[in-house]
């Protein structure tokens, strides 16, 4: 049984990370029958500047809904990485956009640096799916939720007509993560 796995997705206001957080949570809760809670930052933060979404996944009850010690942090901007990496636990996973995050936070983390935005724009061809690319990468690297569950959750959330695009984005991300690991 998995006790508690804490994920934080961070970046800037318009990057769709809140949707990504919701998808992750639904993948775990609805398609894997586990528990998941998702929270996010509101307020001026949510309007430009750094923004975050958190997902806690567990096979048991989730009492405290916010992250206490992050198992995984995704950062799509330098600012968000600086601001939100404080809670990443020793040995935790840090996934960053290699094109946008240059300064790494101090600490003992497993760092995975990939050109996430670039994958979205170049390989998938649309910047708007950066969040889904990130989900693909994260799914592979974290290894706590199955590929199928996340895909189902994506399909249930994204607007009709964009399914293919989003599946492609997820797959590209997943593949990139896979390459890095293998």
């Amino acid at each position: 049984m998995m006790e508690r796995y804490e994920i934080r997705l961070s970046g800037s206001g318009g990057q769709g990370l809140i949707l990504a957080g919701k998808i992750l949570a639904e993948a775990a809760a609805i398609y894997e029958g586990r528990n998941a809670v998702q929270t996010q930052s509101y307020g001026p933060e949510a309007r430009g500047g750094a923004s975050k979404a958190e997902v806690v996944i567990s096979d048991g009850e989730i009492d405290y809904p916010k992250a206490l010690e992050l198992d995984l942090l995704l950062s799509l901007t330098q600012e968000s990485c600086r601001k939100y990496s404080g809670d990443l636990k020793k040995g935790g996973i840090l996934i960053i956009d290699s094109g946008l995050v240059k300064d790494l936070p101090k600490g003992e983390f497993k760092v995975y640096s990939l050109p996430i935005t670039e994958i979205a724009t170049e390989k998938v061809g649309k910047a708007v799916v950066t969040n889904i690319v990130a989900l693909g990468i994260l799914t592979r690297i974290a290894g706590v939720i199955s590929e199928e569950s996340v895909k189902k959750a994506i399909l249930a959330r994204v607007p009709k007509g964009t399914e293919e695009l989003n599946m492609k984005a997820f797959d590209e991300g997943f593949r990139a993560g896979n390459e890095l690991l293998s």
């Binding site: 919701k22 949570a25 639904e26 809760a29 609805i30 029958g33 528990n35 998941a36 809670v37 998702q38 929270t39 996010q40 930052s41 509101y42 307020g43 949510a46 009850e61 989730i62 009492d63 405290y64 809904p65 916010k66 206490l68 249930a156 959330r157």
Partner: protein, 381 residues
């Protein structure tokens, strides 16, 4: 927009769960005015209601919204409004009207921080005393609390049931964390959900007295337009609903408004106990903080400290008996809350000096970390 996966499990924000609970409870009227962090309740119902013939209206302000739900309730509609601190303050006058005229309705307050505009997007539990005393004049009131999306759903249903049963406004307090956290809600079969509807008059219109004195202190208000002609007023009134200056009748009325809640306290009050049986340290916590407290209890138990948790699901009437019982068993009580001790004073009052009561207040917009509670417990032990 909505995520209608078939099946009984849904992921929802607390605010959305309130809206869904309201639908199931039979609520078909919503009037509101947007305010962070409660707005999603309204937004969700603005999508849902028109599809099923329920009535949504955005009013010009919170005062009007409160007035509108009272008016709608008198036509027999179960009615809801949702707001946050500043709007809750504005609604107080008309909440008092609903108490006085005994009009069932539900008010959700998703609490944010600070007095005044404060911290619109940050969590707090600073309106728990206001929920009891916010309107002028003596009155009784029912105030519920929820600590998860699941409870938001269930407590909204319960709020409507209590409102209809006791003919009174019921307040449901969420804090921003509960309102905005998305998590699993298990939706029971509708047939398994108990729904209470207000009493209808048994007598003919000519014999009808809306505020007839009854043993249970609960009046029977016929929906407007059903042939029962009567008067509703915020002035002190007699059994017919007409204003009076007769001191005896006035005295009885005000007494009854308070007694109506007090005499049914056992039916209304609900608490959840976690590992309290053998506890030496009792924690009293509600809303999102009770989740931190539960974590803390578990951590303490791992460390061999016998902590237990009393979670009031109903804040008012205050669960005096339950607190006293706990106070007589434990060595100390800790009350963590997102305010400067508003419920701690009630715990102190109820525990009748049986044990020391320790406050753990946080007012900086951060949630209470379970580790803080653990630390305090360690300090007390």
């Amino acid at each position: 927009m909505s995520n209608d996966h078939s099946g009984r499990i849904r992921m929802m924000q607390g605010n959305e769960a309130c809206a869904e609970g309201a639908l199931v409870a039979g609520c078909r009227f919503f009037a509101g005015y947007p305010i962070t962090p409660s707005t999603e309740v309204a937004e969700h119902l603005s999508v849902k209601f028109p599809k099923i013939g329920g009535r949504f209206i955005q009013m010009e302000d919170e005062i009007a919204a409160m007035g509108a739900i009272i008016g709608a309730s008198l036509t027999g509609m179960k009615s809801l409004t949702a707001t946050s601190g500043p709007g809750f303050s504005l609604k107080q006058e008309n909440i008092g009207y609903a108490c006085m005229a005994e009009v069932p309705c539900v008010i959700i307050n998703v609490m944010r921080g600070g007095p005044s505009t404060g911290m619109p997007t940050l969590p707090a539990q600073m309106d728990v005393q206001q929920a009891r005393w916010g309107t002028h004049g003596d009155h009784g009131i029912i105030v519920l609390s929820a600590s998860s999306a699941q409870e938001s759903y269930e407590q909204t249903i319960r709020a409507f049931n209590l409102a209809e049963k006791y003919m009174t406004p019921v307040i449901l307090l969420l804090d921003e964390i509960v309102g905005h956290t998305t998590e699993k809600v298990i939706i029971p079969d509708e047939s398994k959900i108990e729904i209470v509807n207000r009493r209808k008059p048994a007598e003919k219109p000519k014999d009808y007295l809306p505020y007839r004195e009854t043993e249970d202190c609960i009046p029977t208000l016929a929906p407007f337009g059903t042939g029962y002609r009567y008067n509703v007023t915020g002035l002190c009134h007699n059994e017919t609903g007409f204003p009076t200056n007769d001191n005896k009748i006035i005295g009885k009325l005000v007494h009854r408004l308070v007694k109506k809640i007090v005499m049914h306290a056992d039916d209304i009050i609900e608490v959840k106990k976690t590992m309290l049986d053998d506890a030496e340290i009792g924690i009293f916590a509600y809303g999102s903080v009770s989740r931190s407290a539960r974590s803390a209890v578990l951590k303490c138990r791992e460390m061999g400290i016998k902590a237990g948790l009393l979670e009031p699901k109903v804040l008012w009437p205050f669960p005096k008996k339950e607190v006293l019982a706990m106070a007589r068993k434990v060595k100390a009580i800790i009350v963590p809350e997102l305010n400067m001790g508003q419920m701690a004073r009630e715990v102190e009052l109820a525990s009748r000096c049986a044990v020391p009561v320790h406050k753990l207040g946080r007012v900086d917009g951060n949630p209470i970390d379970p580790r803080e509670i653990v630390d305090m417990i360690k300090g007390v032990v």
